[in-house]
Symmetry: C2
Subunit: 454 residues, 2 copies
């Protein structure tokens, strides 16, 4: 059955690619209200695909936000049940002028497919469905599957907790496979076993009642853009540590064993520099780049805006300035505590001359996954066979809150298996998926389903 | 002749107002390339108005930017010649959503006329023309006039120096009247005798080659928005003094007499707070608000932008961040030196992890005017008669570079006479002109032309 399925996958690459492109053409940007209907179209596209594969109970479940696509295939008695997680929403595409081709018209260049969502994560989602299709066409499926495909991952998965409570019975599984993962290099598979949490805020500073003439009032009225800059500047100390009060109190320290294991990650500082396109690295004193991004919490300015930002010179003292500030969290930091710390920082440091707001936009817990479960061991074997190399375990600096939610609410541990590469430009212009790696991904999922059933 | 002219002006208020509104409807925003044709339309409107008043040699002179309107009326032999300066360009109107009525559809509310440019400075320009018209209709003009009306004041008057060199002969005058001034209150006339200079820059910080995923790279790559905030935060010290190296070296100190005179300005800290709409004032230690805005140099963040600034949460580490930073200068600071100081600051403080640019967008010198010239004494008398109160002398925090240019290139000193009020919201949403003060302005200009001739 394995050989037949692999042959089917290889023989249908061109068609599979076309179907992948069709999904990429739908601009399912979950954070933009004007894309609501597009997000829904992507959900319907996936539901139709599941029905075509004889998945049962397929439902596009309405939520207060974007819908969740559910489905099940439970015809492998005595075999384990796998909960398949993916998300079909994508990040915004701006700045649009930095894309070399239309973000929603997938374009092949040099073995890569360029489009928003190509790597994060419509690619892995379609790859998994194509693995299932290949097995179905070759004698059946060796495990039971339940599908949970959401459209709100990029905005913090706000509808999942409620969905998990309501649908707990239909989400029972022995393990989850989360296709939102990456591997280190096309010739070096890897499995993420730790994720950072996220707490994302808007911080707004209000000064004068309206924009003022900077000549008439400049020097006598505190400038809110300057105040915001001063507040942000104070959020890191000279060792590049975050200064929110209590920020590191609950951070789980790395022990010597884990530091040694992480030091073996074959990503050098030169690799980091080249991936980011910077001349020098930066970060918390006393830690390597791998530790800084994977095992240490951070605070980032995602965006800042205030005053006149058009072409030319407008001499204005702005009425307000706003920053989007997010923190990446590690075990055992609590996103709710971070909000309190940020407000405490603002209370302590914002001057009397201004007023301010802190608004939380999204949050999610970090997670650590069991490296020795049978589901994890099956993934190690499937990747080893597909890539001809032993996969290594890594910590990921990104946030996939659903992993912690499934642990806490469903008591199901996840295996992260995806075929994104570190230079895929996710959340950035010119996002791409390396197509040879994508084809290998389909084969790896086929092997995984076989391995997990045995 | 005086009484006749004043009667004519009073009898024609409704028509004068309509003509004022017609000029306000032209969105002559000099800094926006897409408004180029509108700026030109405003120039043509003024040229037509001058021709209607029998002004001779009227010309709309092309420059590399926006045109300069020239004209002359030299039929008062033996009388002094006045160079009439005004600008017909306006600031951008954004943020548009904060206007209570269309910025380019002048709207009367509570005795005020609301429109972009109503106060800065189409109001004073039209008022002067209507004073001339009233005198012409009442027996003639008692002085010689040359007109110089530019369309680039709001972008730093880049074409004036070349124009002054080329047209020096046609700009010969005994004094200039600059209508871009203000008075303190409707019942308290004042004359500005000092202006601040301006040097306006864009400072851009470049980090990674493109926006990065803040989870994957956050903590290992220096965030350019954070770097820009740190740099801006460092531009003021704990005493709110500007830290650019050498910034205060050439600042002319206030002597005790002038500090005492400025202390008599009847504008209290409560007035400043109420005008700005802030709960507390701010500024350089050791100086009053009047001194901080009129006699001390300052540095202002006019705008800042970087990363994701749309609705919602995008987890991005931005590739770059940009600030529009301007300094207001006092005698004897040199704008060219400020540019060097800003670059020196950046060289000393920008970290190795980023690159940066400093671009100058505009600059102009500050100026101090003679309070005892015959042209100035005529203005004092005209204002006293019109308002029934002795005008007081003030320093203005804003920049009108043409005053210094005329001093240096044409050897002509200016009298600033305008009828703007401090709460007119110039450069801000809901700019307005107080109409009773505008009608008084026409009368004051009539009286001024009579006084200056005698």
């Amino acid at each position: 059955m394995l050989k037949q399925a692999l042959d089917f996958a290889r023989g249908n690459q061109a068609r599979f690619l076309n179907e992948y492109k069709a999904l990429l053409r739908i601009p399912s940007i979950s954070t933009l209200p004007e894309r609501r209907e597009d997000v829904r179209r992507a959900a319907e596209w996936l539901a139709e695909e599941l029905r075509r594969l004889d998945v049962e109970q397929v439902d596009v479940v309405a939520t207060s936000g974007h819908p969740i696509v559910y489905g099940e295939w439970l015809h492998a008695p005595g075999k384990p049940t796998l909960l398949v997680y993916g998300h079909y929403d994508v990040q915004p595409a701006d700045p649009l002028n930095e894309w070399r081709s239309d973000p929603f018209e997938p374009t092949e260049r040099d073995g890569n497919l360029y489009a928003r969502g190509a790597s994060d994560m419509k690619g892995a989602l379609v790859a998994f469905l194509k693995a299932m299709e290949s097995l179905r066409a070759s004698g059946g499926l060796p495990v039971n599957l339940r599908f949970l495909l959401e459209g709100e991952e990029e905005i913090g998965s706000p509808s999942l907790p409620g969905f998990f409570s309501q649908y707990a019975d239909r989400l029972k599984a022995d393990a989850a496979i989360n296709c939102d993962g990456e591997i280190l290099r096309p010739d070096l598979p890897s499995i993420t076993y730790a994720l950072r949490g996220l707490a994302y805020f808007e911080v707004e500073v209000h000064g004068p009642k309206q924009d003022l003439h900077s000549g008439i009032f400049g020097g006598a009225v505190h400038n809110p853009a300057q105040v915001l800059c001063e507040l942000i500047a104070g959020m890191h100390d000279a060792d590049n540590r975050v200064t929110l009060p209590g920020f590191y109190d609950t951070v789980r320290a790395l022990d010597a064993d884990e530091r040694e294991a992480l030091a073996r990650t074959p990503v050098t500082d030169d690799d980091w520099k080249s991936l980011a396109g910077v001349k020098a690295l930066w970060g918390e004193k006393g830690y390597s780049s791998t530790e800084r991004t994977g095992a240490r919490p951070t605070l980032e300015v995602n965006g800042i805006v205030g005053g006149f930002t058009g072409e030319g010179a407008k001499t204005v003292l702005p009425a307000r300035a706003l920053a989007k500030i997010s923190t990446r969290l590690v075990a055992d930091q609590d996103p709710a505590a971070i909000r309190e710390q940020l407000c405490a920082y603002m209370r302590a440091h914002a001057p009397e001359t201004v007023t301010w707001d802190v608004r939380e936009l999204s949050h999610g817990d970090g997670a650590i996954m069991d490296r020795n479960s049978s589901a994890m061991r099956a993934a190690v074997r499937a990747l080893h066979e597909t890539f001809g190399a032993e996969p290594i375990f890594t910590r990921d600096g990104g946030s996939v809150p659903v992993v912690a939610m499934m642990q806490k609410q469903l008591h199901v541990d996840s295996v992260m298996m995806g075929f994104r590469l570190p230079d895929d430009n996710i959340h950035a212009p010119n996002e791409k998926q390396h197509l040879p790696t994508w084809y290998k991904g389909i084969e790896a999922f086929i092997r995984y389903l076989m391995e997990y059933s045995s």
